[in-house]
């Protein structure tokens, strides 16, 4: 599935929820189900700087595609991480770099994604993009 198809799938999934509470409940469920990050990758260097919520980011590049290992101490952010990994992990860096992650807006939980200084999700998406840019040149 390409990035756009996965985003559409997520948007459709969230249409099933009637209210914000159900959406967050689902996000919490996704967060709880996120595979644990490899403890070797949970280093100081892999912490995304300046986030209100401590979040670790690690990626690997195999056969022209990017794979992610990301974790956070917030269950809501972990829920978003699960959605980001589902959308982006295994994709080509140029596609990741150029993609518009519109699903965050369309699922109706945009309050988690504002260009605030310490907004973790905002910083995480920026990190994913800059990381993909580095792989583009390889």
């Amino acid at each position: 599935m390409n990035i756009q198809e996965t985003q559409e799938e997520i948007i459709n999934e969230f249409k099933n929820f009637e209210n914000w509470m159900d959406k967050y409940n689902y996000l919490i469920k996704l967060g709880k189900g996120l595979p644990p990050m490899d403890s070797k990758c949970k280093t100081e260097d892999n912490i995304i700087k300046g986030c209100q919520v401590k979040t670790w980011f690690h990626s690997t590049f195999k056969e022209g595609r990017v794979f992610y290992d990301i974790d956070s101490i917030s269950i809501i952010i972990k829920g978003f991480i699960a959605l980001l990994i589902k959308t982006l992990s295994g994709q080509k860096p140029e596609d990741i770099k150029n993609t518009d992650l519109y699903f965050i807006d369309r699922i109706g939980l945009r309050e988690n994604f504002s260009p605030l200084r310490a907004n973790s999700l905002w910083k995480l998406v920026n990190r994913i993009k800059s990381d993909a840019t580095l792989y583009c040149n390889k």
């Binding site: 914000w20 409940n25 919490i28 919520v53 269950i75 952010i77």
Partner: protein, 417 residues
């Protein structure tokens, strides 16, 4: 709770009327009535403050201390009258001791620079406390780095009370200044500043008090406290943003050189030499925020009309009621349980991250702050990274605390399912 409500009705403190004075409070967030519990970050503005800012821009705008014309003279009079209002509010001895700044951060940086340049040398020591806001740490660190001085720290106990015996041990002949917070923005502790000042003065050490979270909760008398400097921000006392106060004893302000140079603070400028204007203008370089200053004066008038004792008593009821309610929630850990505190509830809920709790409260119409609240060393004491902070003001109600309590119960259920 009924008893508290009845007491309110009997007093002259009319909460309905007060809430109507603050237009922002009547709005809905996500379809729910706004409960604004983020007053530690900034307070809402009463209609009188909003109106005066609008009126000054619409009818009176002109630069102060400059023109000979009618508007400038009028604005200058209002600006200087605002200074006198602040002088009266703080019970400062003379108006020359009141400097308009951008806010507490600006006030502290002014002292850190000007006092530092005048009095600090290699190996001198500055004392702060473990519960300081970063604004009362970083300017001193910068000054220490510049001058080769050292920062010493008064610790606090787990309830959030400063350890005065430790403080006494820190003071010695190298100590040149003590800078402490009056009320902790993260824990709510009201520090015994009068005692802290007395101890310092016994050793001939001046004291700066960061009053950012104290000024809006009751009467402050700088002569009674006997502090050498006192700083606060307008926006935390129901006034405009971008305006603050540095109170300084005339003796220090006379001796210290200005932090910034520019227009309005000079007596005579040549390319060879500049002489500075008298106090307080020496410390107010450039066009001041005169509209903010006048707005602050109006905010102080408004609080005085309500009565500072009324505000203090009402907030005490909110604190007692809220503390009892929150402590009844199993799994809630309250940080800051000093006997003498303002109405701040800083807490963690079970194992939930403060961000997660804050996002859910927001969806329920409740505005709180989450994170370290610019006091990272303070949270280091508890070995956690921060908290959820509900900071209340005199326009908040017992009913809002009830709703908040129910919201927290719902959140607990959601996270534990």
């Amino acid at each position: 709770m009924d008893e508290i409500k009845n007491t309110n009705k009997m007093s002259t403190f009319d909460i309905t009327k007060i809430r109507n004075d603050f237009p922002v409070l009547s709005q809905k967030i996500y379809g729910k009535p706004l409960i604004y519990f983020d007053n530690g970050a900034t307070t809402q503005k009463p209609r009188v403050v909003i109106d005066i800012i609008n009126k000054l821009h619409s009818e009176h705008n002109s630069n102060v201390h400059r023109g000979v014309h009618y508007l400038s003279d009028q604005m200058t009079q209002m600006y200087e009258s605002a200074r006198k209002k602040v002088q009266n509010y703080l019970n400062a001895r003379v108006y020359q001791e009141i400097i308009f700044t951008k806010g507490v951060t600006d006030s502290i940086n002014t002292v850190a620079y000007s006092f530092g340049e005048a009095y600090i040398k290699d190996n001198d020591e500055i004392i702060v406390s473990e519960m300081e806001h970063h604004s009362n740490i970083v300017p001193w660190q910068m000054m220490c780095k510049r001058k080769g001085a050292k920062l010493k720290v008064i610790p606090f106990d787990d309830k959030g009370g400063l350890l005065l015996d430790e403080y006494k041990k820190l003071i010695n002949s190298k100590t040149k200044l003590v800078a402490v917070v009056h009320v902790s923005n993260s824990l709510g502790t009201i520090n015994p500043v009068k005692e802290i000042v007395a101890i310092a003065h016994e050793n001939n050490v001046p004291v700066l008090i960061d009053g950012a979270q104290a000024i809006q909760h009751g009467k402050i008398d700088v002569q009674d406290i006997d502090c050498d400097f006192y700083a606060f921000s307008g926006h935390k006392i129901y006034g405009p943003t971008g305006i603050g106060i540095l109170y300084g004893k005339e003796r220090w302000l006379q001796e210290m050189s200005p932090y910034q140079g520019g227009g309005d603070m000079i007596e005579r400028v040549t390319f060879e030499h500049t002489t500075y204007d008298d106090l307080p203008f020496k410390f107010e370089a450039g066009t001041p925020n005169y509209i903010g200053a006048i707005g602050l004066g109006v905010a102080l008038d408004y609080l005085t009309s309500i009565g500072l004792d009324n505000i203090k008593n009402y907030e005490k009821k909110l604190l007692e009621y809220g503390t009892t309610k929150l402590l009844a929630l199993s799994g809630l850990k309250l940080y800051g349980t000093a006997e003498n505190k303002i109405c701040i509830f800083s807490f963690l809920l079970n194992n939930s991250h403060p961000y997660d709790v804050g996002v859910f409260l927001d969806r329920m119409g409740i505005a709180v702050r989450t994170g370290h609240h610019c006091t990272q060393p303070l949270w280091g004491h508890y070995k956690v990274e921060g908290s959820v902070r509900a900071s209340l003001a005199f326009y908040n109600t017992l009913e809002e605390i009830d709703y908040f309590y129910e919201a927290l119960k719902k959140i607990q259920k959601m996270f534990n399912e």
